[in-house]
């Protein structure tokens, strides 16, 4: 039996299929302007990729900020629960999740059985999210995906003191004007973002093992900055971006089996 999860984030839309309790396939596309069409698009793209007939999909759960716009889903669930289920499904040892996505960051504590015990989210502010890194990459004329690699070469990270994205951007611009090294500025940006995220982690008292999910988990520099800040190893699985969609598919299967 095949089940689907669809995660509509602010920047990317993700889909995942699971079959007989095993992950089958995943897909990531840009969300674009319209979350409704993004849901349809990512779902059909994954159907095409796998050659599965939509009639064979038993249940669909939608998640992410656009969860309520996926009209063909059987149910909408928040990304907090889905990330919990996804992480537990992929690695049952996981007790803590740091999810940094496009417009929000979260810390999610799980119990031994994979149930969410507690969570904390960023307040009404983009600092400490993927959007913050995107703005900074633009100001530094660096590709978003290169931020991590470049920052690893830094020996003396710059100090970004503003916690506001807009103010931090002007701070970065003056650093560029002051000819500070690009790798140091980027490492400084990661440290400042990590400090914000670490606040959430301490708030909910995450226990190890901790996994990082969301698009930002692909940034090695951020992982390093967070590990330094928290003094703990942070794992990154094979599907950081798709974790929420995978969790949604797991929940879809449980709903179908009337276990929820």
């Amino acid at each position: 039996m095949i089940f689907a999860g669809i995660d509509i984030g602010s920047i990317t839309a993700k889909a995942a299929f699971i079959k007989n309790d095993k992950l089958m396939a995943t897909k990531v596309i840009p969300t674009g302007y319209n979350p409704i069409t993004a849901g349809e698009k990512v779902f059909s793209a994954l159907l095409e990729q796998t050659g599965i007939d939509p009639r064979d999909i038993r249940a669909i759960v939608a998640t992410g900020y656009g969860r309520n716009s996926v009209k063909f889903a059987n149910r909408a669930m928040t990304e907090i629960i889905c990330h919990g289920k996804g992480a537990h499904f992929l690695d049952p040892r996981i007790r803590g999740i740091i999810d940094v996505g496009g417009q929000d960051s979260k810390a999610i504590a799980l119990d031994r059985t994979g149930q969410v015990e507690n969570f904390a989210m960023n307040d009404k502010c983009a600092a400490g999210t993927g959007r913050f890194l995107e703005v900074m990459a633009k100001a530094l004329e660096v590709k978003l995906e290169d931020l991590g690699t470049i920052s690893l070469g830094s020996r003396a990270p710059s100090k970004i003191s503003s916690i506001c994205t807009v103010f931090a951007e002007s701070e970065v611009i003056s650093m560029i004007a002051g000819q500070q090294k690009r790798e140091d500025i980027i490492a400084g940006i990661h440290e400042s973002t990590a400090a914000r995220v670490a606040g959430l982690v301490t708030k909910v008292k995450l226990e190890a093992p901790i996994i990082m999910t969301g698009g930002v988990a692909k940034n090695q520099g951020m992982i390093k900055a967070l590990e330094n800040r928290l003094g703990i190893e942070i794992l990154v699985g094979d599907y950081p971006q798709e974790n929420g969609a995978i969790g949604a598919a797991v929940i879809a299967s449980r709903i179908h089996l009337q276990k929820i």
Partner: protein, 413 residues
């Protein structure tokens, strides 16, 4: 009328109409006080109102007015106005809207009646001191400040005598302000009525221990107005008598406030006045009823310190030991007690940008509650009146996730 409308109508609390009428009359009296040779005193929400009633002075509450401004969604413009006047966005939104209202005669009633005097008691916060000083300068009227030290652990003899003496000074202040001798017999009568009113208010709030609950915290936020503004009058006593009877009747006839109560929640801090309807619908959609809150119960939580037959002497303790003027451990104890009394499944905390004394210890209280009860707790960041500090989609996700956590307890893994 459709079936759904009929059901909805049955759920409506009848006393609400009466309460609106009483509040209208009260505000009309206050608005026409001058023509009727009556004096008006502005007073903070936690201030001792009974001596005013005994002296026939009409008490007016800028904070109650602030709540009306918030509920009428007029908060944003007035907050912006105050900021234009130079007040910081970090200042309490009740203070900002009140100060701005005086400048532009804004708000749902075009401003409050002008005060003849101001009574400021700092048992609810420190902001009121400067706020009332600003208003005393603006209106050029006398200001009485009642200083109630915070009781972090217990209530000492020194605090008692310090506050008790100020009660005498308060009476002298009022005698000078209205040029009339204080009537101690009348004060005793007002004290008894204040006690009875608070007893009845407590009785009304306790009816929600019944499952399903006959009313919710959203109703308590509304019905609170009388125990704040008309405490110490027969009107308040009669009204809460009637309201409590209606609640009993609802319990007998099995009328619940939300259609399918499955989960019971406790609310902490002031309401988000401009989002009451949305919040109440949101929780109701999850079959969750906010059965109690720490805010409205503050107007009966000091009952144990009141001596019905010697109100004046017990006032010092009753007004000093209120929910916002005690230590975090004691606040947490009150919360734990409510969790047990109302048998709730989750705790919703409003981290209120305006109200610092209410919001400051919330992280500690949250941790204590989680540790001692294991029930899920959610923190919603907002502000009681300024909608610029509220994000709908963020709050929406937090509530959904919180309810999913409560519900997942029922899932078979």
């Amino acid at each position: 009328m459709t079936d759904t409308d009929k059901k909805k109508d049955k759920r409506k609390i009848r006393a609400a109409k009466k309460m609106r009428e009483i509040m209208t009359t009260y505000y009309l009296d206050a608005m026409t006080a001058r023509e009727n040779n009556k004096k008006v005193a502005w007073i903070t929400s936690g201030g001792p109102v009974e001596p005013l009633i005994a002296m026939d002075i009409i008490p007016v509450y800028p904070e109650n007015h602030g709540a009306m401004i918030g509920a009428s969604k007029m908060g944003e413009e007035l907050c912006i106005k105050a900021e234009e006047m130079g007040y910081s966005q970090d200042l309490c939104s009740y203070a900002r809207t009140d100060i701005a209202c005086c400048k532009v005669n804004g708000g749902p009633m075009g401003g409050l009646p002008q005060p003849d005097m101001l009574i400021c008691c700092n048992n609810i916060c420190g902001t009121v001191l400067k706020w009332y000083e600003v208003q005393a300068r603006h209106f050029n009227v006398p200001l009485f400040i009642l200083d109630t030290p915070i009781c972090h652990t217990d209530y000492s003899r020194e605090v008692e005598s310090y506050v008790r003496r100020q009660m005498d000074e308060y009476i002298i202040f009022l005698e000078t302000a209205v040029d009339k001798k204080f009537d101690h017999d009348k004060m005793a009568e007002v004290g008894r009525l204040a006690f009875q009113g608070q007893k009845l208010w407590q009785k009304v709030l306790k009816t929600t221990t019944h499952k399903p609950s006959p009313m919710s915290a959203f109703d308590a936020f509304f019905f609170l107005a009388l125990i704040v503004t008309l405490r110490g009058t027969q009107i308040a006593v009669d009204f809460y008598e009637e309201l409590s009877l209606e609640m009993e009747e609802r319990i007998q006839t099995d009328i619940s406030i939300i259609p399918h109560e499955k989960y019971r929640l406790l609310w902490d801090n002031l309401p988000v006045w401009y989002q009451l309807k949305w919040l109440s619908q949101k929780f109701s959609d999850h079959n969750a009823c906010l059965v109690a809150d720490t805010y409205t119960s503050a107007w009966c939580s000091a009952l144990k310190y009141i001596d019905e037959n010697n109100f004046l002497d017990s006032m010092a303790q009753a007004y000093t030991r209120i929910h916002l003027n005690i230590g975090v451990d004691q606040m947490a104890d009150q919360v734990l007690d409510m969790i047990r009394t109302y048998d709730v499944d989750g705790f919703v905390m409003h981290s209120n940008r305006s109200c610092k004394p209410y919001s400051f210890g919330q992280m500690d209280i949250m941790n204590i509650v989680r540790k001692k009860t294991g029930i899920p707790v959610v923190m919603l960041e907002a502000d009681m009146v300024d909608p610029r500090s509220f994000s709908l989609s963020q709050t929406d996700t937090r509530i959904d996730a919180f309810m999913e956590i409560i519900k997942q307890k029922e899932w078979v893994r």
